[in-house]
């Protein structure tokens, strides 16, 4: 048992270093004074000047604001649609169109982004020709496209949560005469709420981060943050982009840590309640 254990743990450590080294280097060099991103200017560093440059760059600030609005809308719509799809797939048994729905919900996850971007743009162009809507491309078409690929992720997350607990609670409520909508609201929804929240967060992140699909379906006037960043870094490294990484890494790590703590607390409370209930029964 010893040798594979040592070997795999060494690879795990190396793998984690590999995953975090680039992120760390972004953060470190965002405080570097030199324009040459990779040469540390010890005499004048650390400095916050790239952060100041970032905040005074109107193009980046506007793009960030647009990206936030799109991500909020797309994640919320995707959470609703994705949850509906998950409930239908896990709880409704066989129905007509089930195989189609199952296939359609997972396909966007693996579909290469260039194909989805192209397909969605051609759809919007064809729709505008046929019914005059949507008028041109822009924030609206980006949001519609983001909802479509984000809802797949929500479905997967909620689906695995729904499959993880059994139906007896819902069936009991049904037997006691609760209408399906009440069963969903009072029993199913509270149980899958954590999954919906993590699905929403995942959808928000994916929308906020999407470059390729947005590039296809964005009009000339609307640039999301990744589009602006991409056009900058295509020409090589630029230190103010490094400065963008630090707040994003910070936001994500605090968000994840908070979510983990909250989940652990809930889980503990739930376990205590189960124990109390068991004790009361005995």
């Amino acid at each position: 048992m010893r040798s594979p254990g040592y070997f795999s743990r060494a690879v795990l450590a190396a793998g984690l270093v590999f995953l975090y080294l680039p992120i760390l280097s972004l953060v470190v060099f965002s405080f570097n004074n030199s324009r040459l991103v990779t040469v540390w200017d010890a005499a004048h560093s650390p400095t916050l000047k790239w952060y100041a440059a970032l905040l005074s760059n109107g193009q980046i600030v506007d793009a960030a604001w647009l990206s936030i609005r799109i991500a909020l809308a797309a994640a919320s719509a995707a959470a609703v649609l994705g949850t509906l799809a998950a409930v239908a797939l896990v709880r409704h048994g066989p129905f007509r169109g089930r195989t189609l729905l199952a296939g359609l919900t997972t396909a966007p996850i693996v579909m290469p982004e260039v194909i989805m971007g192209l397909a969605l743009l051609l759809l919007f162009v064809a729709l505008e020709q046929a019914i005059g809507w949507p008028r041109g491309t822009g924030a609206l078409t980006i949001t519609l496209a983001h909802i479509t690929f984000c809802m797949a992720y929500v479905t997967v997350v909620v689906q695995s949560r729904l499959a993880g607990f059994d139906e007896s609670l819902e069936e009991a409520a049904m037997d006691l005469g609760a209408p399906p909508s009440a069963v969903f609201r009072r029993i199913t929804l509270p149980l899958i709420a954590p999954a919906i929240v993590s699905g929403w967060l995942l959808a928000f992140t994916l929308s906020w981060d999407d470059l390729v699909i947005s590039q296809f379906v964005a009009g000339p006037g609307s640039s999301t943050l990744p589009m602006v960043v991409f056009s900058k870094v295509r020409l090589g490294v630029s230190p103010d982009v490094n400065a963008l990484a630090t707040p994003m890494v910070l936001a994500v790590s605090t968000g994840i840590a908070a979510a983990a703590l909250l989940l652990r607390q809930r889980e503990r409370r739930r376990r205590r309640e189960v124990q109390l209930a068991a004790a009361a029964e005995a």
């Binding site: 509906l84 192209l118 995942l202």
Partner: protein, 298 residues
């Protein structure tokens, strides 16, 4: 609000997402298929209609020109083959790195396991674009890696690391490693340690136990992880654009160039259709594995 009857409520629950996906996911592919048979023209939109009317009669205008063009111009074949090679090599490297990682996580204590899994997932939540961009600073000729190697005296001239096959592999392995580790972990976690103990009692050496017990049991996890890396890697656009070679394009870049630079929508659509045809088998396989996985959990 009037209370919906149970049956129509159920129909609504499945129907709304189904309708959304039919319009915004299924229909677009039919349009791509249609336009791939069309001809480019300088107009808005820049393709000719498939159905023309001649003397009051419908005259279908189906063209296979775009596909013939893809076959005759070696640029497309080479881009397709190169994409397959890059995706295959990256998938193998991901597996070689991801398998031991997933194994080590599955063998650690439950409390540690949560932390380790979170550490693997965390980069996935931070901007993909910025993480790929970070590698430019690490790999370029006056970048961090070259500077460190020069300072250590291991090399005397900077190595050319950026814009090579190597940098594309690094970028893809780095971005998709979590997709390999997670399904493998989900599989390895379920293995019964009693089997390994029994084999050890019977005198099997560690390597034999791995080869005869652990590996055969994890085939499904390996397949799921490999497909989750291979499929998106084929169409990858951002990584080769930022880190890759300039003399050899991947197919995702070719599609995007046809669309944005040449404004040739029909050829871009034909490239997309050929890509899809290439990916149909792996995508169907992946869906089958995932369904089995989900059903096993119920």
């Amino acid at each position: 609000m009037a209370r919906l009857s149970s049956a129509s409520g159920r129909r609504l629950v499945a129907g709304v997402p189904l309708a959304w996906l039919a319009v915004l996911f299924l229909a677009p592919f039919l349009i791509v298929l249609k336009i791939s048979f069309s001809q480019m023209r300088l107009a808005v939109p820049p393709y000719a209609p498939l159905l023309a009317w001649r003397h009051g009669l419908p005259a279908p205008q189906l063209h296979l020109d775009n596909y013939a063009f893809l076959l005759t111009d070696p640029l497309y074949a080479s881009a397709f083959l190169y994409s397959i090679k890059v995706a295959a090599v990256s998938t193998l490297v991901c597996l070689a790195l991801g398998y031991p990682m997933a194994y080590a996580i599955a063998r650690s204590s439950p409390a540690r396991r949560t932390v380790l899994l979170m550490l693997v997932m965390l980069p996935f939540w931070t901007s993909f674009l910025l993480r790929v961009y970070a590698w430019i600073g690490l790999l370029q000729s006056d970048g961090v890696i070259n500077n460190v190697l020069l300072a250590l005296g291991l090399i005397h001239r900077p190595l050319v690391l950026l814009q090579t096959d190597f940098s594309v592999y690094i970028g893809i392995v780095y971005s998709y490693l979590p997709f390999m580790v997670l399904p493998l972990f989900a599989n390895l976690e379920k293995h019964d340690p009693a089997l390994l103990e029994a084999a050890a009692d019977l005198g099997a050496r560690p390597f034999t136990r791995f080869l005869r017990i652990t590996l055969p049991q994890s085939v499904h996890g390996i397949a799921a992880g490999a497909l989750l890396v291979f499929i998106p890697a084929i169409g990858e656009y951002v990584i080769p654009s930022l880190l890759g070679r300039t003399d050899q394009l991947m197919i995702g870049r070719v599609l995007s160039d046809e669309f944005f630079e040449n404004r040739d929508w029909p050829v871009a659509s034909a490239v997309a259709i050929v890509m899809l045809a290439l990916l149909v088998v792996p995508i169907t396989l992946l869906q089958r594995f995932e369904r089995r996985e989900l059903e096993a959990r119920r």
